[in-house]
Amino acid sequence: MGIVTPGFFGKRREADPHLPPGQYETKDFPVLSAGPTPNIHEGEWEFSITNESGDVKRWSWDEFMDLPIENIDTDIHCVTRWSKFDTKWRGVSLDTLFAEVETDAPFTMAHSYGGYTTNVPLEDLLEGKAWVAFEFDGEPLDPEHGGPARLLVPHLYFWKSAKWVTGLTMHETDELGFWEVNGYHAYGDPWKEQRYYYDS
């Protein structure tokens, strides 16, 4: 621990097992984005997965809505230190999507409308760990929060849950995405406090 700050006592007195190190709980839903919020209509939205051979599997919004939809109740952790507990989402599991894709590549890059990218290992997207989510708290996902649809990978810092997601590409090596090039950690495990590129 660091130096004691005289006169500082803090608010939370008990260690909360849901709270990763260095985080605090908020009831708000702060917005963090690198630029303007893209305005994407459901009619123009599509999601695709491109494998290492260049084969592309695409879903339109309507096709997406015909896939099995799951309810997700999860805590989320932002690298800017807020965490939000018991957030409720609806979306399609990445397991469902990858069932239709042939790939042996271990890494993915998520691509968003607006040009943003983030890298996530494939194993972090499978086995019930990740979704493409389009509803938050019973309502269509707000554009500021990534609507019409965002990636939801709640076991990693929330920048990995790419807003305005439109696809994944498969890669043999772990390349860095937009925030990862701009100083954030390549993997981003909140329980290991992997915030910045130099964190181990």
Binding site: I3, T5, G7, F9, G10, Y24, R81, F178
Partner: protein
């Protein structure tokens, strides 16, 4: 990079609810304009709380400066705004962030739009611009509720002049006596007319930096994009919930 123990070497009341802290950080070699630092407080029982604050100091400044706005239900800001004195020590990490930054090597004109305490990183950009004697045209649009709440009150005009920047203040509730401009929220029409008046005559590229509360940033960024700005040329930093 590790947490460092910084000395508070200066404090200044900016507004009734905000204060600037000047920090001497061991090993500090400066920052990029627009970057932030994390500040961490530790209670006697080891409990810690950390928050991020944008730097307002110039990139090469000897001391790092942050301006902290008091959040009424906050955990860290009440201590930093009301509790800290010169001579105290704080733990800091940084500088951090590689996107919302301006470098003197950027030749294109810049637009800066700040709402309330969101002015801090924009002042860092202006100071850096002035010290580098950058020739890039600069325009600052600052939305603030009333004269009492203007950050860097005594310096702002001089700062803008030193950076050869055009300063436009939009008072949202009360203007100073003798004010001839309008008073009211920074709406789309005001952003549009300001953007038009700050567009380069040759129609060339502009970089825009917007920092403020979420609703403010959404409005300003959406308006600029609607009036033709390339979304990738607009960098944003938002705070607060939506």
């Amino acid at each position: 990079m590790k947490w460092a123990v910084a000395d508070v070497v200066g404090v200044r009341e900016e507004t009734p609810t905000a204060r600037t802290l000047m920090l001497r950080i061991p090993g500090w070699t400066g920052a990029l304009a627009g970057q932030h630092i994390d500040i961490r407080l530790t209670a006697p029982d080891g409990y810690q709380a950390a928050r991020s604050y944008s730097l307002s100091s110039a990139a090469g400044a000897e001391f790092a400066a942050v301006s902290v706005e008091l959040m009424p239900d906050g955990e860290v800001s009440p201590y930093l705004v009301r509790g800290v004195n010169v001579g105290d020590q704080l733990e800091v990490l940084g500088p951090l962030g590689g996107w919302f930054v301006w470098k003197p090597s950027q030749p294109e004109p810049i637009r800066l739009i700040g709402g309330g305490s969101g002015i801090a990183p924009l002042v860092s950009i202006l100071r850096t611009h002035a010290e580098a004697k950058s020739a890039a045209p600069a325009h600052l649009l600052y939305s603030v509720r009333s004269p009492d709440y203007v950050y860097f009150h005594d310096e702002l005009d001089a700062l803008a002049a030193a950076a050869n920047a055009e300063l436009t203040i939009q008072y949202t509730r009360h203007a100073p006596q003798g004010w001839t401009g309008t008073v009211g929220r920074l709406d789309g029409a005001r952003v549009t007319s300001w953007a038009a008046s700050t567009s380069p005559a040759d129609g060339g590229a502009v970089s825009t930096y917007i920092c403020g509360p979420t609703r403010f940033v959404e409005l300003a960024a959406d308006t600029l994009v609607a009036s033709g700005a390339d979304p990738m040329s607009v960098k944003t930093e938002r705070f607060g919930g939506a």
